[in-house]
Symmetry: C2
DNA sequence: CTGAAAGCGCTAACAG
DNA sequence: CTGTTAGCGCTTTCAG
């Protein structure tokens, strides 16, 4: 039932070598035999076996991508660009989601290696550099598989990432510019610690000191509920504040809900700024002021880096680090519009 | 640099056959040699080449999934379950998004076939059955690749799908039960036509007749903007109505925005019901009444069907069709809570 | 231009 | 229990 190059050769009355030649467009083949073969391929609906080819070419035209989770707008958008970009270049994408279980990472990478993917795009489930990671890097290196990561903490690998210190700093600075002095922060280890750092940076740059009591570090995943809970705590603490900067948008949504339940209007009494610019950020009321990541560009860079390092196999060189600027998107939740009105 | 079974055999002082045996756990191997080999594998960090194995086993432990788009909550959620479920079974997932370009479908499926995936999960970019599709089915069949689709219109393939007639009917009926008689519908060919049919079904069941002037069929993709525009048209038409049933949630969000801009309160003056129950449906104000698809179950069924048909290769039998009930989620936008209050 | 033949890395008889 | 050997489907010298 399954058609192989042999059947094609038979049908076209040539040797398999010649069929292979027209398949690969190498070595001139007489136009007439070429036609015959093409016709046989067509009528038999022959699809060459990539696996057999791989054994010789040593290339699978496949790259593997490992992410901590899938059902999240950020990853989905990234996945989308990457898959498209890869397809353009004739590559296909294998995906793996660890669902935040770090233990799964090695298993996934091993399966990528076994499949002999041409490259791996790796984003760890843990934020700080761990042994886990370096083991993974070693494995990939051993099998000469180019790897590019989204974790800047991995020093030995090529990397693409957003400048979250700058992004968070810009967001906080915007709040400061609006006159706020008591600005809370809701984040935690699961949202890049860089964001908290950026928040602190903005205070430093303005010779302000952060009130540690206004920092809420959530223990688990940065969900709507976590944001709700953190804002609730903030309110209960009695510590005064007029603004909250949240490590991500979903956290901000939860925060806003808590605030409203406590009768605090947003942005009237409390200004809120998020991070990521998820789609619904512009839909909710008030529309969320947030920080946008250039996901398209990040995705494209990722693919570009992988392609580069798989062509020249000189991944011996110094790892390339590409960093992207974040963009502050001012909408309603920070009260920027409101203040202006007051001023006028 | 690359380690093969040969190097392992050498290191352990055995033949490659024996290494293969411990790799596959078949045929008893003397514990001591077994240990030696295991040790060699470990220390050399040997990862067997799947491609080579595939040539013999005729199985890639990979399934390909083709979807019309990725950046959309529905697909993301589905992708998530499927990838997880597959991983549990020791399979990996290749994904392809056509981005609604039907022309790309064949190319994707061909690449799946070339990779000799063990199964294909296929959701077409076009709603109605087309020649395109049957070509794809044929191709998969020719190479004995089990295929399961999400398009009920493809008669020759196994299929899993939601009962959108029932879902849409339930939603509409709920509105009717609330006392509404002039219910508009916003949908179009890009959102399953089944939903419009369900809407009509509810009218029929209640001996009501639909006012065709209240049906808005959007031409392109069912986006926020499209919903906004359609609702706008409805308002301009002057045709009276007290409720709108939207073919999906995003459409509903756009609809609500248009309504509010026209000073119509939701659900006070106009009730709105969506479809899909995307995450932000519960976040927006008013919280959207909508219809939920059992995505988890759908995903699981899909994987199950693929696995089944790849083990028994009797895909000669009658295609299996699995249909899932949709669930109405009543929240605020339909005014169900409101009416009750009035009544009491 | 085209065919014969040698593998790619691995598994599966078939003998020892 | 273990080694030898013949392929899997394809590409690539190496000779015609």
């Amino acid at each position: 039932m399954k058609i192989t190059i042999k059947e094609v050769a038979q049908a076209a009355n040539v040797s398999i070598a010649t069929v292979s030649r027209v398949l690969n467009g190498k070595n001139k083949v007489k136009p007439s035999t070429r036609e015959k073969i093409l016709h046989a391929i067509e009528s038999l609906n022959f699809q060459p076996d990539q696996n057999a080819r791989t054994m010789i070419n040593k290339t699978t035209k496949t790259v593997g991508m490992l992410v901590p989770e899938l059902k999240n707008e950020y990853w989905m958008l990234l996945l989308d660009v990457i898959q498209k970009e890869l397809w353009e270049q004739g590559y296909t994408l294998i995906i793996g989601s660890t669902d935040h279980q770090v233990e799964k990472e090695t298993a996934f990478v091993k399966s990528f290696v076994e499949k002999r993917v041409d490259g791996i795009i790796y984003s760890s489930s843990v934020m700080e550099s761990a042994e886990e990671m370096s083991g993974i890097i070693q494995l990939a290196k051993k099998y000469d598989i180019p790897m590019v990561t989204l974790n800047p903490s991995i020093s030995q690998a090529n990397c693409v990432f957003g400048d979250h210190i700058q992004g968070a700093s810009d967001a906080t600075e915007h709040l400061i510019g609006l006159g706020h002095r008591h600005i809370a922060y809701i984040g935690g280890r699961s949202v890049s610690t860089k964001r908290e750092l950026g928040y602190r940076n903005a205070f430093m740059m303005n010779n302000l000191v952060v009130n540690e009591a206004l920092i809420q570090r959530i223990p688990g995943l940065p969900t709507f509920e976590a944001g709700y809970e953190a804002a609730h705590q903030l309110l209960l603490s009695g510590e005064p504040f007029t603004a909250i900067f949240c490590g991500n948008d979903v956290l901000a949504f939860g925060t806003i809900k808590a605030l409203e339940e406590h009768g605090k209007s947003v942005p009237g009494e409390i200004a809120v700024v998020g991070y990521d610019d998820v789609h619904s950020a512009r839909l909710l009321k008030p529309a969320l002021t947030t920080v946008r990541q250039p996901i398209q560009e990040i995705g494209r860079s990722l693919v570009e880096l992988i392609m580069d390092s798989s062509s020249k196999n000189l991944n011996q060189t110094v790892p390339k680090k590409i960093i992207y600027r974040m963009q502050l998107i001012v909408r309603d939740s920070c009260g920027a519009g409101l203040k202006k009105e007051v001023k006028n």
